[in-house]
């Protein structure tokens, strides 16, 4: 037993209703799919990964390796003090033995020159050590920087890969959403068409005894 007897109003009216049911179902399914895809698209957009700046500031990783260089004044001061003590002792000896003032002056000059030479030598050594430390530090900093850049390139690569995949999914979902919208619109048109066809028979309804026309 089909719906015609249940609905009544004539076979063509029942057929019109039945014809529109399929279109209604399609419209509803398309609307439902559209809603689902819209929800999915919103979620994909809302949960996209944060943008990594591939040119982010790396200055915090760089330090001046020469900042730690010190001037070897301590050694020079010590040498000068030692030379002064030595000179004073020698002068005391000269005074005690009755040496001339000119000899004392020459001795003092020689002692001073000697002190300067020793001091300069120590400074050179210290400077060489500092240079080595600075060069080592610079190498370390260069290595850190290269590592930082390498890690950053990796992050940028991973980002691009994920971005590409997410974009593909976003594009795909958006495309499906467009298709669902079109399907919904088409199904609604079909539904309207079926009902309009049935309405063509409403003259039939009006003419049907018991409907718009009083029963005879």
């Amino acid at each position: 037993m089909g719906p015609a007897a249940i609905i009544g109003g004539g076979l063509s009216i029942a057929s019109g209703i039945i014809g529109s049911i399929g279109a209604r179902k399609r419209a509803k399914a398309a609307a439902r799919e559209k809603k689902r895809l819209q929800g999915k698209l919103n979620s994909l957009e809302a949960n996209r990964q944060e943008i990594i700046n591939p040119y982010q500031d790396l200055s915090s990783m760089v330090s001046n390796p020469f900042a730690s260089l010190s001037v070897a004044t301590g050694a020079a001061e010590m040498q000068i003090e030692e030379a002064d003590i030595s000179l004073a002792n020698t002068l005391d000896t000269l005074r005690a033995t009755g040496a001339s003032a000119g000899g004392a002056t020459a001795l003092a000059q020689a002692a001073l020159k000697s002190k300067k030479g020793v001091s300069a030598s120590i400074e050179v050594q210290e400077k060489q050590n500092e240079d080595k430390r600075a060069a080592g530090e610079k190498q370390k900093q260069d290595a850190l920087l290269r590592e930082g850049q390498r890690v950053q390139e990796g992050e940028a690569w991973e980002f691009n890969q994920r971005e590409q995949r997410e974009m593909q999914e976003l594009d795909r979902t958006a495309s499906l959403l467009g298709a669902a919208q079109a399907a919904e619109a088409q199904a609604q048109m079909d539904q309207t068409g079926a009902i309009t066809g049935a309405l063509g028979t409403l003259g039939g309804i009006a003419a049907t005894p018991g409907l718009f026309k009083p029963q005879e």
């Binding site: 007897a5 249940i6 009544g8 209703i17 609307a31 809603k35 949960n47």
Partner: protein, 381 residues
């Protein structure tokens, strides 16, 4: 507590699918009247009413000022047939959901009865005590009323304390139904096609390379998960699991980095669930039929789960809108369902991709070699 909707819907499903009624002598011997004639009865007096109002307007005998009320009534009557067609076709389309193979029996069983009646199923005729009316209401809306044995309820007589069975018709109003449909919700919830969703999801989660996806958009029959998700040794060779084939023989199968796979899959599952949650009633249906029971798309298995009373169903009337706890639980179980029923086949007993590693070998020797390799790799010799 027994869920009346579940028991009634399962009974109706069985009743409609079986030919049990064909063996009823009483049914076979009697004529069955299915002529509910909804439109004929609804419009029986419409013609007369239309004529009376029209005459009143034309002869200037209206009861309202400037015939405003009469003109409105005429307009309603003219629009009524179109509204009836829309209403009935919407209603039948909604009720037809009760016939879907994965229909959630937690839906109101009265809609299943109404659908049986609208389709003239045996056992739901006038002769069986059923009836249906379409009424044109003064406010311009229309209503359909279903009555019969399935639309009754019991009450206690306040004087005699007897238990009485009284009519409890199912009434559906056209404007209420239209409002539901316009807001993209449903009278009867159609269960989402979880199987199709999950097959599609397999291609979206990023664990398969694009060359594993066929032109139809689905995974190819020989699809394998990308190499980056396979477990490897320190030297880059595959870290196989050895499977005992019996008779001292064994073979290698691939092992997968499940943490990495889960991390990859989770955002796509979340997006999928967000899509489902845009219509929470759909999520409830998916939960009731598939996710909570861990059933497959096998219809018989689903119905068996309901029938044996293992019921963790969410109830449409009380559980909507879904609480945050339920949403979290849904996503967690959805992921588990996907991993167990769809992804598992790609991570279980997968043969090596390297041809020479796929050969059957002597089990003892292989186990020794594997142990030695572990010692070598970790400098434990």
């Amino acid at each position: 507590m027994e869920n009346k909707n579940v028991s009634q819907n399962l009974y109706l499903k069985q009743f409609n699918q079986s030919d049990a009624i064909a063996y009823s002598k009483q049914f076979v011997a009697n004529a069955n009247d299915y002529n509910f004639q909804l439109l004929d009865n609804a419009y029986r007096n419409a013609g007369k009413a239309y004529a009376q109002i029209k005459i009143a307007i034309e002869t200037n005998k209206c009861e309202s000022e400037h015939c405003a009320a009469e003109l409105a009534q005429i307009k309603q009557l003219k629009e009524a047939p179109q509204a009836s067609l829309d209403f009935l076709s919407s209603l039948v389309a909604e009720l037809s959901v009760t016939e879907e193979s994965s229909f959630d029996p937690n839906n109101n069983y009265k809609y299943t009865v109404a659908n049986s009646l609208m389709n003239g199923r045996p056992g739901f005729s006038k002769t069986d005590g059923y009836n249906a009316y379409l009424d044109l209401l003064p406010d311009g809306s229309q209503q359909i009323v279903f009555m019969g044995p399935a639309f009754k309820t019991t009450i206690e007589d306040p004087f005699t304390f007897e238990i009485l069975e009284v009519d409890n018709p199912l009434i559906i109003n056209s404007s209420a139904l239209k409002a539901l449909i316009d807001s993209e919700t449903s009278l009867v919830v159609s269960t989402p096609d979880i199987s199709a969703d999950m097959v599609r999801l397999l291609t979206e989660i990023g664990t398969f390379s694009s060359d594993m996806i066929g032109e139809d958009g689905n995974l190819k029959p020989n699809a394998t998960i990308s190499e980056e998700f396979m477990l490897k040794n320190l030297d880059g060779s595959f870290d196989y699991k050895i499977v005992d084939l019996g008779n001292g023989k064994g073979k290698n199968v691939l092992q997968f980095d499940m943490n990495k796979i889960e991390k990859k899959v989770t955002p796509f599952i979340s997006a999928e669930v967000a899509g489902l949650m845009s219509s929470e009633q759909d999520a409830v249906a998916a939960w009731n039929v598939y996710i909570s029971k861990h059933t497959s798309e096998d219809e018989d298995e689903q119905m068996l789960q309901f029938a044996i009373g293992e019921n963790f169903s969410w109830i449409y009337e009380t559980d909507l809108p879904l609480s945050q706890d339920k949403k979290v639980l849904f996503e967690s179980k959805y992921k588990q369902y996907f991993m167990d029923n769809y992804l598992k086949q790609f991570i279980t007993n997968q043969m090596p991709t390297v041809k020479e590693d796929a050969a059957v070998f002597d089990l003892e020797e292989a186990k020794k070699a594997k142990a030695q390799k572990f010692l070598d790799d970790n400098n434990l010799n």
